[in-house]
């Protein structure tokens, strides 16, 4: 097993000494279990920040294509349309006549118009009201003002973001800040979405985020976690270690880790490693093998040299979260390469399968309110950053924490 030069003692101070502003105090439990706190998060956080709702090349690559995203944390159904003019726009999925959901299906392609199935009002692909059935029956219908209600929409690296604030406090570029420069050498357009798993868990969305925000649990949580831990650089004592942790402004973060140079694959992995052609893409990684970016609040991009894993954690209630897991690879050209992509799909599925129980059991434990706070060690610093960011939108004191 490879080691890095940090004793347990030094490790205890490594990130804390680099980021003293993050402190070392315990984290209050109440914001993770309080229905009231979730209501405040909806109004002050989710309805005020940029949220990643889709991926252009996968969800609506050509004009006329559209998709719907249910965002319970914003009390909304969102309709994203690739307009005939090539621009992607998001709208409240609500007809201007009587408030019917304009689109019921999850996705589709329209030639020129979207039609409400209640009274047949039609909208063009830029969201303008185009047609009203029996229009003469309406008094003073102001059609130019009766288009779909738009949401601020922007894209970055092929990802589609919306903001529910009618006048967003900042642009998407300003919100992402130094992440923009950080991703300049990452050609995300070279990989394409292959797999999408979704799982609904009985846990607060922050519990699910926290569990993914550290490596401390890696050798312990389950058999596939332990196997994956062997791929990475560990301390002399066999503890998982970040090789990098970085903040991008107060909200977004990165942790990364390096490959264990002594790792020896076995079983099917050994066979596939021996047979697979050299990677067609060598994206730089800051950690060495594996970079884990949190795009606050609920998006994660996991970058490896030739694949990307992309998460969205969508809170459905204070104690329920819908976890979207997307995986992107370089397009397979042969059936063997497709087989290999399936191997990685299954590996990631099996790792995160082991996480589900811990998300739900941690939530259940916290909801028991046996503890008012929980404590974090230095290798869990990304969790500390995450909660500090959430607390900057909603003060835990408002729920008595």
């Amino acid at each position: 097993m490879a080691t890095i030069e940090t004793s347990t003692q030094a490790a205890a101070k490594r990130w804390a000494s680099e980021y003293p502003e993050l402190g070392s105090e315990p984290i209050p439990v109440e914001p993770l279990v309080s229905p009231r706190y979730f209501e405040l998060e909806k109004e002050r956080l989710f309805k005020r920040v940029w949220l990643n709702v889709g991926h252009l090349a996968s969800d609506c690559p050509s004009p006329g294509e559209y998709f719907v995203k249910e965002i319970e944390a914003c009390d909304a159904s969102v309709l994203v349309i690739h307009g005939r003019d090539g621009k992607v726009r998001a709208f409240h999925n609500v007809c201007s006549h009587r408030g019917n959901r304009l689109v019921y299906e999850q996705r589709g392609k329209a030639k020129n118009y979207l039609t409400c199935n209640f009274h047949g009002w039609t909208y063009d692909l830029e969201g303008r009201l185009a047609g009203v059935m029996d229009e003469g029956g309406f008094a003073d219908l102001d059609k130019p003002c009766l288009g779909l209600t738009p949401l601020a929409t922007d894209t970055w690296k092929g990802l589609i973001f919306v903001n529910f604030d009618p006048e967003p406090a900042e642009t998407l570029a300003s919100y992402l800040g130094p992440l923009i420069a950080e991703f300049e050498d990452r050609p995300l357009e070279r990989v394409q979405r292959m797999w999408h798993y979704q799982v609904v868990e009985d846990a607060n969305w922050k519990v699910a985020m926290d569990a993914q925000n550290e490596l401390y649990h890696l050798p312990i949580l389950g058999p596939v976690h332990a196997a994956v831990a062997d791929l990475y650089t560990m301390s002399e004592e066999g503890y998982a270690r970040f090789t990098t942790f970085k903040r991008f402004g107060p909200l977004h973060t990165l942790w990364g880790t390096a490959q264990n140079p002594e790792f020896e694959p076995s079983g099917l992995m050994a066979l596939l490693f021996a047979k697979a052609p050299p990677p067609k893409l060598e994206m730089p990684t800051r950690g060495g093998i594996f970079d884990y970016y949190v795009l606050f609040p609920n998006t994660v991009l996991v970058l490896l040299a030739d694949q990307v894993v992309h998460y969205n954690f969508w809170p459905e209630a204070h104690d329920r979260v819908r976890w979207d897991i997307f995986q992107y690879v370089v397009e397979p050209e042969t059936a063997a390469e497709l087989w290999y992509a399936h191997y990685w799909k299954a590996k990631i599925r099996d790792v995160v399968s082991e996480d589900i129980a811990s998300h739900e059991m941690v939530h259940a434990g916290l909801a028991q309110r046996a503890k008012r706070t929980f404590v974090l060690q230095d290798e869990e610093i990304q969790i500390r950053n995450f909660h500090k960011a959430v607390h900057s939108y909603v003060d835990p004191a408002e729920v008595g924490a």
Partner: protein, 122 residues
């Protein structure tokens, strides 16, 4: 299983005829493969895994000559799907056996992709 999946041939290329005895593992839908996996006991899973691993190098070499852009012959697609199932159950044998065959929550994942060709052909 969709009607379309049910009609597909499970006949493997002749050189892999000895693996035809595992044709029940040739399932086009994610959910069907998962059900087959979690319905199998440790011994059944190991027998499938061992037989597949013994031929896995040959399967790779064969599938590496099959270009997706050309479209797949039925027997090649059957072999690919068998190989996919093998990849999906491999952690069950390598890491979970003999105590179990999978993480208990694994069947909770809903697959929103095409089960064989991925998102673009969902």
């Amino acid at each position: 299983m969709s009607a379309k999946a049910a009609e597909r041939s499970k006949q493997l290329p002749a050189r892999f005829a000895e693996l035809q005895r595992f044709e029940e593992w040739i399932q086009w839908e994610d959910e069907a493969r998962v059900q087959k996996h979690v319905g199998a006991d440790v011994e059944e899973l190991a027998a499938f895994y061992d037989a597949m691993l013994a031929r896995a190098g040959e399967i790779w070499d064969y599938l590496a000559e099959v270009r997706l852009a050309d479209g797949l012959r039925a027997e090649d697609e059957a072999l690919l799907v068998l190989a996919i199932t093998f990849a999906e159950i491999s952690d069950g044998v390598e890491y979970y056996s003999p105590d179990s065959t999978a993480a208990v929550d694994m069947p909770r994942f809903k697959a929103l992709h095409d089960s064989v060709f991925g998102w673009q052909r969902r």
